[in-house]
């Protein structure tokens, strides 16, 4: 259903109706913003990246192949834009404040907060491309879907994800941040 709406909106945009792009923005602004945030780790940067993603998508609409899902195409632009942004940015990425829900038990909460802080710090230190891989995996995409998005084979996705997690574990310490 959404796919049909996407195609209609794209067609109208290509005929010069800029307002038709509003439908596409409203439908995909949240997932694009979330993806950008998971890679660039900063809310304001994520907002800038997301805006740039939509502007670039509009400018490149003529190259969109309607045989594929519009969102997949947009997602690919979002990943590239986020990785490029994060790669160019020199300043250190600050771990984000509120990620996930904390447990209600105070002792467990403290342990969880500590672990979260360590993981966030480690995530901020790995390469943007590896973060993008982990973000796509966290989004529930299969190896095949990630491969299609990033232009890798399934096997390569699997090995790169493995390497990204190894790197993460290396940064967290031998116990992986969780004491046995």
């Amino acid at each position: 259903m959404d796919e049909q709406k996407d195609l209609e909106a794209v067609g109208r945009c290509l005929r010069g109706e800029i307002d038709a792009f509003e439908d596409l923005i409203l439908r995909y602004q949240k997932p694009v913003m979330n993806l950008a945030y998971r890679i660039v780790h900063d809310p304001e940067d994520a907002r800038d990246v997301a805006q740039s993603v939509f502007v670039k998508a509009f400018a490149g609409l003529s190259s969109y192949d309607s045989h594929y899902k519009f969102f997949s195409w947009l997602y690919r632009i979002a990943i590239n834009e986020s990785i490029n942004f994060a790669s160019k940015r020199r300043r250190k990425i600050a771990p984000v404040d509120v990620w996930g829900e904390a447990p209600s038990d105070p002792v467990e909460e403290t342990a969880h907060a500590e672990l979260r802080a360590r993981i966030e710090a480690a995530l901020a230190r790995i390469a943007p491309r590896q973060r993008a891989l982990l973000a796509l995996s966290a989004d529930g995409l299969s190896y095949k879907e990630i491969g299609r998005t990033l232009g890798f084979s399934e096997t390569k996705v699997k090995s790169k994800l493995f390497a990204a997690r190894q790197k993460l574990r290396g940064l967290l310490g031998a116990d992986g941040g969780v004491r046995p």
Partner: protein, 257 residues
């Protein structure tokens, strides 16, 4: 100690890629190893943290900002074709226009140079190559060779598809005239290409074609034929106003192989 296989199973479990048997195998390993449990938990926690990470709420200003940027920065995303509209003359388009202009100038220059290398006496300057390519069933229709020391000539005739082609090549110590006379009601001159030699002169009249040349020379002449064979044709090579050689080149059905 966690081996690579167990590590792989953990990763696949996180990605939802384990088979039930692999999941059971991993579960068993996790029950018996605290180290494995800790590693798996850290992987799962990282995944959960990433999954739970939500970007800022877009808000209506986000959409407005994007649309404003689109209107400001991007032209409507119509298929990207070169346009001569005034808006197209941005720096990039101007670059294309310059390239186009240079290409056009170069093309004209080549045309002028090429034109100077061919004899142009007002005849139809269609590309001979194209004319001959259309006449696919050209067949040999006679040839002529002679060598008188100061003047030598080699002439080959081909006939077919309503045209007659004469290929002339030779050499002369001084100026020579190559004159072809023919029945103007049956043959009409179509095209000429100089294949070799210095630029000379050509005179074309109904029923008569004269080429003035010197030294080593080569021409291809094409005539349109009305009706069929035979065709009356005469060839004369002269020097200083007097004939050096004259030959009847009439083509009959027997000459066409």
């Amino acid at each position: 100690m966690i081996d690579r296989r167990l590590d792989r199973l953990m990763n696949q479990e996180i990605d939802g890629a384990n088979s039930p048997a692999e999941s059971a195998m991993l579960q068993k390993a996790l029950e018996t190893s605290g180290e494995a449990r800790a590693r798996y938990e850290s992987l799962r926690a990282a995944q959960e943290i990433l999954r739970g990470a939500e970007g800022p709420a877009p808000g209506p200003e986000f959409k407005d900002g994007v649309l404003a940027a689109v209107r400001r920065n991007a032209r409507p995303a119509a298929p990207d074709r070169f346009s001569w509209r005034p808006a197209a003359f941005g720096p990039l388009r101007l670059k294309y226009a310059l390239f186009f202009g240079l290409g056009l100038g170069l093309g004209l220059l080549i045309l002028v140079v090429f034109r100077n290398r061919t004899i142009d006496a007002g005849f139809d300057a269609r590309q001979l190559v194209g004319t001959v390519a259309e006449a696919r069933s050209l067949r040999p229709a006679g040839d002529l060779r002679f060598d008188q020391g100061l003047v030598s000539q080699d002439l080959r005739l081909r006939y077919g598809d309503g045209c007659l082609v004469a290929e002339v090549s030779g050499s002369a110590a001084g100026d020579v005239e190559l004159v072809l006379t023919f029945d103007k009601d049956r043959l009409s001159f179509d095209a000429l290409r100089q294949t070799r030699g210095e630029q000379g002169g050509v005179t074309i009249e109904p029923g008569r074609l004269e080429i003035r040349t010197a030294g080593s020379h080569g021409y291809v002449l094409v005539f349109n034929v009305k009706g069929g064979l035979p065709l009356a044709l005469n060839y004369r090579v002269g020097a200083g106003g007097s004939a050096v050689f004259t030959r009847d080149l009439s083509v009959t059905a027997e000459d066409v192989r």
